[in-house]
Structures are given as structure tokens and as C-alpha cells.
């Protein structure tokens, strides 16, 4: 069987990219290796660890479980687009640093993107709700405690700033 390719146009963090891609290329590999957006990480490639979580049309998805061709015409958001500029961090990012919500940082981008969607839908969550929201993301370093604290703190900061 020969390699089939397609032309796609994907908007990532507000920037439109046109690429000719193999139909079997995953969205995760498109982002990392064709667009150079290596902030989205690959941890298991079977949809469990959540490290590759990005937003597709605003909804969190496993980028290892989508084909790049399926993102044609879609808006994708990745961790690189989270901070407003080079000087400032998103409230979630700030809270992660304050609460030591990351150690090696490998799972962090997927967790941040998961929480972006979660806090948009649930701006005032309980700790238990945060834990359920995080249950699809594996972290081996932190025991999740700093992450949960960061998420709750960020929610509060975002409510206070009217960003939620």
C-alpha cells in the first residue's frame, strides 16, 4: 500500500497552517514534528496518560487519538498559546508554579489544557470535582496534591479577575 497524503489547513493558537500530511499521521505528531510545537507531549499513544491533551474547537481531546486529517478546518489550542505574552503567565501557569504543581513538567501541558476546559465549564469547582477532572491525566512526580491546589487557586484568581 502506498502512502496517501492530503492537504489540510489547521489553525493552531490562532495561526493558520497548511500542510500536506500522510493520512495516518496523528494530530500529536503533526503538532510536534510538522509544526514544531513540541510543548504537547506524547506519553502513551493509547489514550490513557493525557500528556498529549490539546483543545480542538475548545474541547479537550487526546491528540494521539486523532488523525491530523481530522483536524482539517479546526481550531486547535496548545500549551504554547496559553500565556498572554512572553512576560506574563496564564493564571493556571502562575498557580502551578506557586503550588509546586509540576516537577519534571512532562505531563504538565496536557494537564493545563484539561484544566482550561474544565475551569471554563466549572469556574468554582470543589476539590473532588478537580480530582475527577484530572483523573484522565497521569502524573508520576507530584502525587497530584500541588496540581489540585493550583487548580483551585487558579479558579479563584480567574473568578476574581473575571476571566473564568
Amino acid at each position: 500500500m502506498t502512502t496517501e497524503t492530503r492537504s489540510i489547513a489547521v489553525t493552531v493558537n490562532g495561526m493558520r497552517h497548511e500542510r500536506e500530511v500522510e493520512v495516518r499521521l496523528t494530530l500529536a505528531d503533526l503538532l510536534r514534528h510538522r509544526l514544531g510545537l513540541t510543548g504537547t507531549h506524547i506519553g502513551c499513544e493509547h489514550g490513557v496518560c493525557g500528556a498529549c491533551t490539546v483543545l480542538c474547537n475548545g474541547q479537550s481531546v487526546r491528540a494521539c487519538l486523532m488523525l491530523a486529517v481530522q483536524a482539517d478546518g479546526k481550531e486547535v489550542s496548545t500549551v504554547e498559546g496559553l500565556a498572554p505574552d512572553a512576560q506574563h503567565l496564564h493564571p493556571l501557569q502562575q498557580a502551578f508554579s506557586s503550588h509546586h504543581g509540576l516537577q519534571c513538567g512532562f505531563c504538565t501541558p496536557g494537564i493545563l489544557m484539561t484544566l482550561v476546559e474544565f475551569l471554563r465549564e466549572n469556574p468554582a469547582p470543589t476539590e473532588a470535582e478537580v480530582r475527577v477532572a484530572l483523573s484522565g491525566n497521569l502524573c508520576r512526580c507530584t502525587g497530584y496534591q500541588g496540581i489540585v491546589a493550583a487548580a483551585l487557586d487558579a479558579a479563584q484568581r480567574m473568578r476574581a479577575a473575571g476571566q473564568a
Binding site: C44, H46, C49, S97, C104, F106, T108, L138, R140, G143
Partner: protein, 788 residues
């Protein structure tokens, strides 16, 4: 103006890039012309390789090469990775080959490397490499592997005994002969893999201009990797550089030098193109080293007051198919059993068994959790039999603070006696019991039972040697830019090592953290280095950096005094400058000071100073700094489903002086989570033919946020006298006591039924079956009952 940063919860310098997705992990490296590799791996636990046909794979468009060991041989000085730690106990040499040659001894062993335009094509081609295997019988269970009739792990081996040794002192048999009480336990323990969320990976590139091979590898030990590459390839040290980029977690197995590191480097040399290999998760389950099984038959002898007279027993340890590190794991386990208790007589006979499974090497905790489990299970047994409070039994046997430093009769793996340097173990336990509500638990338990709920509480003490020597390197250099540069052979896997070293060094330069840079994990940046393992980096790299910083600070002040024409005692550090106290306009920058000793041809240096503004230290500390702690777990067991819910988990940890409380808490939390996974979830299963049965994250269960309880930690700070910072390591401490405490708590919850916990991990299926049996209620269907 001078601020102290040592001991402060400063946020991490690592965070900014990682939070923005600008970390630089090995898979983020992309070089011009780079190719990608996949490995052909054995599907058999044991087989003869009769031939390898590469034809179809090589014919696939986009494939550049398929290499087997035969292809690599002309380019190798030796075909084996000589990595085993020294020990007189080995009965056979089982270093592994770069690639399997004519025999494969575990599922997942690399047989050939395929290099292609990209990973997709490399995987297509790997499936087309035709390996002619002839299956051989495999040894799976380590106990059975030692039986006379067991299948041989290596077909040419005399037997499957890799090593045998004893750890012993005193006259244990005499102690048992006269003991009022002797209790025997058969214990089984299993720990799984490391499961860093980043798998392993390597990128190799040969720079033809400089004739230098660079390997970026997700390794905890780049200097060791450089040494091995030089040995394997016959290249000079200045022609091989190994760099550890950002690591997405290490947890032990990344300290090993792997066949894939060598194969990727060779492929890059032979193809004259950069080559990348990124381990995928399925490979991680069968190719990254793991911890696994230990069978213990142990006895404890106590007097009428529950004071320990002796402990003896036998340990059989699953080593896997090759020696990828040594016999350090069972050594650690056996050393840990009596460590912080007064055990006058001790003998543990250890047999290390080869099996047709992935090689076993340390995972966070490195055998200490198992030794702790054994000791704490024995002490719970003593308490139960003598009808004493479990904490009281421990209190009677813990080494008291007044005995510190305490020279045990144990020998560390290098032969030195094990000395407990400092700590107040009984006070630590008391502290933990109070904070956890131990003393009023009985009332809570009674109330719950009246409501049909089964609560239990358990405790475990631990003591863990940290900061394994002999040294770690550190260089501190003030550059003409005015920056304070720190270089070390330490490696960061996520612990915040850069932040820690910056705090240690900045403390000597007025606390200006932003003016300190830290470079780690690069064999070209500093000549010597050992790397990240054994909770060692704060102790050893921290101490070397501290001493080097003091040396440089003294020189800075001396030169500044000369330049400012002021006494040293009146000088202070402010940002990147040294100034005369209370004289804002009398200052000199660190850059100016550095330039003054950088040398200008034909001009003299300031009087009485040597050139340059740097110092290197390799502080040698052979004795280990022993951290200790007590954890208390409170659980509820659903007696019908066997589900265990952790209601409360309290820890009191003493890891010496704390450099950064935020980071210490993070390390303890992560270790605790790992321990809870080991206690309740993680299982790297193999069937009787040594085929792995848990090779994805649906089958191998890691802790998730919903299963992880909130942890309450408290800290004591007993300085270690062994190093100038007074610190002890903390990276592994959290994991060590967890399984022991959970077992104790579950047993307590189920005490009305007399259910005994002798196996870990503790799974609900087994627990529910034991409870049903004890209660005399139905379990399975009439037709299948008893099968559980």
C-alpha cells in the same frame, strides 16, 4: 540587603519554560537530516535466533538501514554492556549484549534496529524483518527458577542462580534457640516499573568537523554513559559527549546504560546522519528495567517484653534475564530490615535468581520499601501475638536518639559499616502518632464498626540511607559577565535540582538567585560526574557546590577589598555587585572583579590572587546520611468488594536541614503516591511462560488524582553531621514506608475477621476472597466457588 535563600520556599527556575511548553526533552530535539529508529524486539521469553532476514525491510521505500549485532561487531570493542556493580557474590556474568545475537532471553529484548525517514516507516519495516526463532522453555517465577529441574534462562548456563550472599552478624541461631517467642512469616512482595511519563529516548549525531559523537539521552547518568560509549566504540573521551536534556521523570531505570543508547550511536556513526529513537510506551513495559518479585521466609525472635533478640531468614530475588546494575537491590532490602531497630543478631540469606524477564534494577526506593515491609510486618505480628500496641512494640526497639551516631553491625555494599548519623526515631514516631490521631483512633474505629464500617489504622517507620558517595562534582565560576555559573555532574529528572543548587550557591553571594545559572547533565561541561540516583544530589552536589561557592566568595571579597580599598568585613553582596556597607556609591560588580583576574596580556593581576574566579569541589562523603520518618495510614475496607479507601495519611519525615520546603514536600508527595501505587495498584504481571500480561495503562494501573488521598506531611530537621549543609536526601523517602503502613492499616480494619496481609500489592479481589472465607460467606457461584 543581603537575603538568605537557603531554606526558603522559592519557586522553581525550571517552571517558566516547562509551563510554556518550552522544555527541551529528548524527543523535542530535531536535527537537519535526522532519521528515526525502531527496534525489532523478541516476542519470545526465550528462543534461539536461527537467522535474520532483512530483505523485505530494506526494500521498503524510506528505509536506510537494518542493523543486527553482526553488523555492529566490526565497530565494537566489546559486544557486551559491562555495567554490573562489583560484588563477590556473582555466580555468573550476565552483562547484556548491544543486540541479541543467537539467543533472546526476554520478551522485548532488542534484536535489530531499523532506521528510516520517520518512525512510522521504521515501524512498518520492523514488522518486515523476519527473525527465525526457535522457542525454548522459559523460567518465569524466581522461586521456581532456582529449582533443579527449572528451564535455563540462558541455554548455556549451569543454573539460574545469578548470585548468592548472606548479610549476617551476631549469633542468630543461639538467639533463636533461647528465645521466649519466635514468629515466622512468608511474605511476597512485588514492585513494578518506573513509568516516568516520558519514556526513554536517544538522539545521536556525529559532527564530522570535530569528529565528535554527541548522544542526547534521557539518562540520569551522562558521565557513565560517556564512559561506556568510549569503551564500546574505542573512541577517546574528547570525541564523545553525552547530554541529558530535560528529563520527563527518571525514578531509577534511566540511570542504566541501555542497548538502545549504543545502537542509536552506532547507527548515527555508520549512516553519518543524526538518528533519533524514542521509546514508546509498549516498549517501556518490556525494555526499560523494572523492579519485581521478592519471596521472603523470615522469623523474628523476641523476649517477653517484645524486645528483638534476632531476625533470620531467606530472600529470593527476581533479577530478570541480565545484570543491568548488580545485586544492589536485594542488598538494600536485606540491609533495610533491621536498620533503625536494635536487632542484636541477624542473618539473611539472599539468592538472586535469573528469570526470562526484563532485567531488574532500582526503581525509586530501590529495595528499601521491601525491607521496610518485612520488618514492619514482623513487628505487627509481635504486637498481635503479645497483645501490645503496635507503636509500643516499635518504641521499645527503635534506636534511641542518645545512641546517635550509631554504628550498626551491617556492611554497606562497598564494605564500610553502616552508621546511622543522626535523628530521633522514637520522637519522630511519637510526633506522627499524635498528628495522625493514633491515640483516639480506637474510639473512632468502634463507632464505625457499630455502623457497619471497617476502619483501620496502621503505621510504619523507615530509615533510608541517602547521599550515596563517594562524591558529586561542582564548579562555581564567576564570569566576566558578572553571572555566577554553576556546573555539576548532578542530573535533574524533575526534582528541581537547578533551583536547589542555585539556592546553595546564591546563599554565598547575597541571595541573588537570578544572577546564578546552573548547568547539569552534560559530560562536556564538567569532567567528572556520577549523576542522579540514591537520593544523593542535595547531599553531594549540594555540598560540593556549597564549598566551591565559599571558596569563590572568599576570593571575590579579597579582590573587591583591594579594588574598593575597604576591609573585607565591611563588604556586602547586593545583586550582581559587592559594595561597602552603607555606601551606595562604593561598589564593584562581579563582572569587574572577574575581569580583574581574567588576565590581560602584559598586565599584572591584583596582588596575592591567582587567575580566574572559579573553584571546583568533589567533596568525598562515603558514609550515607540516614533520613527517617514515620507514616500513619487510616483506611476503610469495604468488606464485600475488598475496596480499600484511604481516609487519612500522615507523615513525619526527617531529612535533615531543608534547602527548599516546597521541593522537599514535592518529593515526599511524589514518593508517597508511588508507594500507594505499589501498595494497591501497580503490578507488572507475567504468565507462567514469562510473557508479560500488563503492557498498557489499562492493565498496569498508576495512581490517578481520584485515587490519591490528601497527604498531611510534617518535618523534623535533625542536621546530618556528615556534610557541611547538614542535609539528607529526600527523593526516595516518601515511597519507603507506604506499603508497610497500608498493610498494617488494612489488617487492623479486618482484625474482626483475622485477615492477615502477607502479599503486596494488596488487590481487592484477593482481599475480598480472604474476607469472604473468614466470614464464611459465599463468594463465587456454587459451581466456581473456591476458584477465587
Amino acid at each position: 540587603m543581603t537575603a538568605s535563600v537557603f531554606g526558603q520556599p522559592v519557586t522553581r527556575r525550571e517552571d517558566g519554560d516547562l509551563l510554556r511548553g518550552k522544555g527541551r526533552f529528548v524527543d523535542d530535539i530535531s536535527l537537519p537530516g535526522m532519521l528515526e529508529a525502531a527496534f525489532v524486539r523478541s516476542p519470545f521469553a526465550h528462543a534461539t535466533i536461527r537467522g535474520i532476514d532483512k530483505t523485505a525491510a530494506l526494500a521498503l521505500p524510506g528505509v536506510h538501514a537494518v542493523y543486527t549485532l553482526q553488523d555492529f561487531m566490526p565497530h565494537l570493542v566489546t559486544e557486551r554492556l559491562v555495567v554490573g556493580l562489583p560484588s563477590k557474590s556473582y555466580k555468573q556474568d550476565r552483562n547484556r549484549p548491544v543486540l541479541a545475537n543467537d539467543e533472546t532471553v526476554h520478551v522485548g529484548e532488542a534484536v535489530a534496529i531499523v532506521v528510516a525517514d520517520n518512525r512510522y516507516i521504521a515501524e512498518d519495516a520492523a514488522a518486515l524483518v523476519e527473525v527465525d526463532y526457535e522457542a525454548l522453555p522459559a523460567a518465569s517465577d524466581c522461586r521456581e527458577a532456582l529449582a533443579a529441574e527449572a528451564p535455563l534462562v540462558h541455554r548455556n548456563a549451569p543454573h539460574n542462580l545469578l548470585a548468592e550472599f548472606a548479610m549476617a552478624y551476631g549469633d542468630v541461631d543461639a538467639a533463636f534457640a533461647n528465645a521466649p517467642h519466635v514468629f515466622r512469616e512468608s511474605l511476597f512482595q512485588h514492585r513494578g516499573g518506573s513509568h516516568s511519563i516520558e519514556c526513554r529516548g536517544a538522539v545521536a549525531a556525529h559532527d564530522a568537523v570535530e569528529d565528535r559523537l554527541t548522544l542526547w539521552s534521557s539518562t540520569q547518568m551522562p558521565h557513565a554513559a560517556q564512559r561506556l560509549l568510549c569503551d564500546l566504540l574505542g573512541r577517546d573521551e574528547n570525541r564523545v559527549r553525552v547530554v541529558a536534556p530535560d528529563l520527563g521523570g527518571g525514578f531509577g531505570p534511566k540511570l542504566i546504560f541501555y542497548p538502545e543508547d549504543a545502537a542509536v550511536a552506532l547507527a548515527a556513526l555508520l549512516l553519518a546522519r543524526p538518528v533519533k529513537w524514542i521509546e514508546d510506551r509498549r516498549e517501556h513495559f518490556v525494555a526499560t528495567t523494572q523492579e519485581r518479585d521478592q519471596y521472603w521466609e523470615v522469623e523474628i525472635a523476641v523476649d517477653g517484653d517484645a524486645r528483638i533478640l534476632g531476625i533470620r531468614g531467606d530472600l529470593i530475588h527476581d533479577h530478570g534475564a541480565y545484570t543491568a546494575r548488580g545485586v544492589n537491590l536485594p542488598h538494600n532490602s536485606a540491609e533495610t530490615v533491621p536498620l533503625q531497630y536494635e536487632v542484636p543478631n541477624y542473618r539473611m540469606n539472599i539468592r538472586v535468581a535469573l528469570t526470562n524477564k526484563v532485567p531488574v534494577t532500582p526503581v525509586r526506593g530501590a529495595g528499601h520499601p521491601q525491607g521496610t515491609f518485612v520488618m514492619e510486618r514482623l513487628l505487627d505480628r509481635v504486637a498481635r501475638e503479645l497483645k501490645l500496641d503496635r507503636a509500643e512494640v516499635r518504641r521499645r526497639n527503635l534506636i534511641p536518639a542518645a545512641s546517635m551516631p550509631y554504628t550498626t553491625k551491617l556492611k554497606a555494599r562497598g564494605g564500610l559499616p553502616v552508621v546511622l548519623d543522626s535523628g530521633d526515631y522514637p520522637a519522630c514516631q511519637d510526633d506522627a502518632l499524635t498528628r495522625a490521631g493514633w491515640h483516639d483512633f480506637a474510639a473512632r474505629q468502634q463507632a464505625a464498626r457499630a455502623a457497619g464500617r471497617y476502619l483501620g489504622i496502621g503505621l510504619a517507620n523507615y530509615c533510608k540511607g541517602t547521599g550515596r558517595g563517594p562524591f558529586e562534582s561542582a564548579t562555581v565560576r564567576v564570569a566576566p559577565s558578572g553571572k555566577v555559573h554553576v556546573y555539576s555532574g548532578a542530573v535533574a529528572m524533575g526534582q528541581g535540582t537547578r533551583t536547589m543548587l542555585a539556592q546553595v550557591v546564591a546563599e554565598q553571594f547575597g541571595g541573588a538567585l537570578d544572577n546564578v545559572t546552573v548547568t547539569l547533565g552534560d559530560s562536556a561541561a564538567i569532567a567528572m560526574g556520577i549523576g542522579g540516583s540514591n537520593s544523593r544530589q542535595s547531599v553531594l552536589a549540594g555540598s560540593s557546590a556549597h564549598l566551591a561557592a565559599i571558596t569563590v566568595r572568599k576570593k571575590v571579597l579579597k579582590i573587591a577589598a583591594h579594588l574598593l580599598e575597604a576591609p573585607e568585613a565591611e563588604l556586602e553582596f547586593v545583586g550582581d555587585s559587592v559594595r561597602v556597607r552603607n555606601s551606595a556609591d562604593r561598589f564593584v560588580t562581579l563582572g569587574e572583579i572577574a575581569r580583574s583576574v581574567a588576565g590581560t596580556a602584559g598586565y599584572s593581576l591584583p596582588p596575592d590572587v591567582t587567575p580566574g574566579l572559579e573553584a571546583s569541589e568533589h567533596l568525598v562523603i562515603d558514609d550515607m546520611a540516614h533520613a527517617n520518618g514515620t507514616v500513619v495510614a487510616e483506611v476503610e475496607v469495604d468488606i464485600e468488594t475488598g475496596a480499600v479507601k484511604i481516609l487519612k495519611f500522615t507523615g513525619v519525615h526527617d531529612c535533615g536541614r531543608i534547602i527548599n520546603p516546597l521541593l522537599v514536600e514535592g518529593q515526599i508527595l511524589g514518593g508517597t503516591a508511588h508507594g500507594l501505587g505499589n501498595a494497591l495498584f501497580e503490578w507488572m504481571g507475567y504468565d507462567e511462560n514469562a510473557q508479560p500480561v500488563t503492557t498498557n495503562y489499562g492493565e498496569y494501573l498508576l495512581m490517578t488524582a481520584t485515587e490519591m488521598p490528601h497527604i498531611d506531611n510534617f518535618y523534623r530537621e535533625t542536621p546530618s553531621p556528615l556534610n557541611p549543609l547538614g542535609v539528607k536526601g529526600v527523593g526516595e523517602c516518601g515511597v519507603v514506608p507506604v506499603t508497610a503502613a497500608i498493610a498494617s492499616a488494612i489488617e487492623d480494619a479486618l482484625s474482626p475477621f483475622g485477615v492477615i496481609i502477607a502479599h503486596a500489592p494488596i488487590f481487592p479481589a484477593r482481599l475480598a476472597a480472604m474476607i469472604a472465607q473468614a466470614r464464611g460467606v459465599k463468594f463465587g457461584a456454587a459451581a466456581t466457588d473456591g476458584a477465587g
